[in-house]
Amino acid sequence: MELDSLYQQVILDHYRTPSNKGLSAFKDIQVHHNNPSCGDEVTLNLTMKDGVVKEITWDGVGCSISMASASVMSELLLGKNYQDSMKILDAFVELMQSKGKSSGDEQLLEDGVAFAGVSKFPARIKCALLGWMAFKDAATQVMA
């Protein structure tokens, strides 16, 4: 069923047991992003050192796609330097805009390729990007 291409098992797993959820006490910066049309929200704490992501923690409310995507993002970008994190982020954004035509670079995106099916559901792309955009905002501010 078409639905299974959206709700990959990886996504449902991350939704049920998200990684790095729960905000850390210390951080370089905190950002809050939301999606007013559906009410999804993510708060993200970021710590970087020498241009490398040291800690990402987040909290939020939202649908399976937005929460799972934030979880995957937080795993994937941890330990990456700023440039690499942006490369991965760009690849993820590109995948989201692929309208179902790309399956994603597994090398780069790892669990992130599970979201390939989201690109066929335009209304859900914003969900998948919520956590990533919060990271981008935070990292850009820390690096500025």
Binding site: M1, E2, L3, Y7, G39, F121
Partner: protein, 415 residues
């Protein structure tokens, strides 16, 4: 036995298409916007094809016919509401109606302008369109905004009504039916409380006028707003109704052609009646389309429609109660409620519920329903909402219930 209304569905061309998964369309999102019967679509098209001209302006036959069509629509809508046609103002939507009214109330030249020591009362279950314009009016004028709370079962809490609606109250703006719960608040009691202190009652009738008989004289409210697009009518048309004597005392809020009495470079004076609130070339084709929708509904009979929706709502409520993990948000019985049913599924975000339903061709609304303060009060991130109109039937309800079961399976609710 009630009338068989199943034949009306055929009048709506959209049901001949299929949606996701090749499924027939099961449209349960009429609370957001209704579908349109062919007669409405054709009425608008026919206006363009045969009598399109700027109303009230030209010296020619087309302009005459267009004016007749437009003013005829006004009379028709007035009749539908039990109002006088001089009390019907065409706007683009209920949202515009409510904003225009709020701006008219802050025009200091209005005989009944809101002052800084006035209070404006809303409720916790208002749609943003009947909340933010009043917040902004309060901000512009220095007036105070207060509100009636809701009870846990989604009814209005009237325990402190005498404090909330008090001698400073100038306006009470309230929904005629909650677009989240389906609750129909006790308008009579609120009108009584408002009249006792000389306050004006503004009724947001977006979810009532399209679904059951509404008579402004019986209701005894002062202003009323609704949108055409939820009433089987076109998009881009709304109505603001106001008591003639009050409209007379209000100054207009939007300015331009066809609403003036005289104009100089320094200033202008206004025409009388609804004209002064309708600046510019109006949404003529949409008014004509709305009038066709009113005719269509009148022919069905608003009471027949209300009964029809009542039965479907009852069926849905009983069905939902049997599904494990599903909670109805709002009244669970049929007392004072209409055909809007919100629910949550344990552990599944409404957005995901909606996505699964969509896969089965079922269109519902998910999220905060433009009633964010209400969601926060209920500590919900949102709900899934099903809402009805004439084209729905009991097999739609069965399909929805089956699909909700599948949602709980898919996301392994309680497993």
């Amino acid at each position: 036995m009630s009338a068989d209304l199943s034949r009306y569905k055929r009048d709506f061309p959209i049901f001949s298409r299929t949606v996701r998964g090749g499924n027939p369309l099961i449209y349960l999102d009429s609370g957001a916007t209704s579908q349109k019967p062919e007669v409405v679509i054709e009425a608008e098209a026919e206006f363009y094809r045969s009598k399109n001209a700027a109303v009230h302006r030209g010296a020619h036959l087309l302009a005459e016919e267009a004016s007749d069509a437009y003013e005829g629509a006004r009379e028709n809508v007035a009749r539908f509401l039990g109002a006088q046609s001089s009390e019907i103002i065409f706007t683009k939507s209920a949202t515009e109606s409510l904003n225009l009214l709020a701006y008219s109330f802050s025009n200091p030249d209005s005989g009944i302008a809101v002052k800084s020591n006035d209070e404006i009362v809303v409720t916790e279950m208002e749609h943003h369109a009947n909340l933010i314009p009043w917040q902004q009016l309060a901000k512009r004028t220095g007036a105070k905004l207060t509100w009636l709370s809701i009870t846990p079962d989604g009814r209005l809490d009237l325990s402190n009504i005498d404090q909330i609606i008090n001698s400073n109250t100038k306006i009470v703006a309230i929904t005629h039916q909650s677009n989240v719960f389906g609750t129909i608040p006790p308008i009579k009691e609120i009108v009584k409380a408002a009249q006792a202190v000389g306050a004006y009652v503004v009724l947001d009738a977006c979810q009532s006028v399209p679904h059951f008989e509404v008579d402004v004289k019986q209701l005894q409210v002062d202003f009323l707003a609704f949108s055409g697009h939820k009433l089987l009518g076109p998009t881009g048309i709304g109505v603001l109704w106001g008591k003639a004597a009050l409209l007379d005392q209000l100054q207009p809020a939007i300015f331009g052609g066809s609403m003036v009495d005289s104009v100089t470079m320094q200033g202008a004076t206004w025409a009388s009646g609804p004209r002064k609130f309708e600046a510019g070339v109006p949404n003529m084709a949409q008014a004509v389309g709305l009038s066709a929708a009113v005719d269509y509904l009148t022919q069905i009979g608003m009471n027949n429609l209300a009964q029809h929706e009542h039965k479907l709502t009852e069926q849905l409520l009983s069905g939902l109660k049997l599904i494990k993990g599903v909670k109805i948000v709002g009244p669970t019985d049929m007392k004072d409620r209409g055909g809007v049913v919100s629910f949550t599924v344990d552990g599944v975000h409404p957005h995901d519920v909606g996505q699964v339903l969509d896969q089965y061709g079922i269109a519902v609304r998910t999220g905060h329903h433009c009633a964010w303060p209400l969601m926060k009060k209920l500590q919900l991130v949102g709900t899934t909402r099903a809402s009805f109109h004439i084209y729905n039937n009991s097999s739609d309800v069965v399909s929805l219930l089956e699909a909700v079961e599948k949602v709980t399976d898919y996301f392994k609710v309680g497993k």
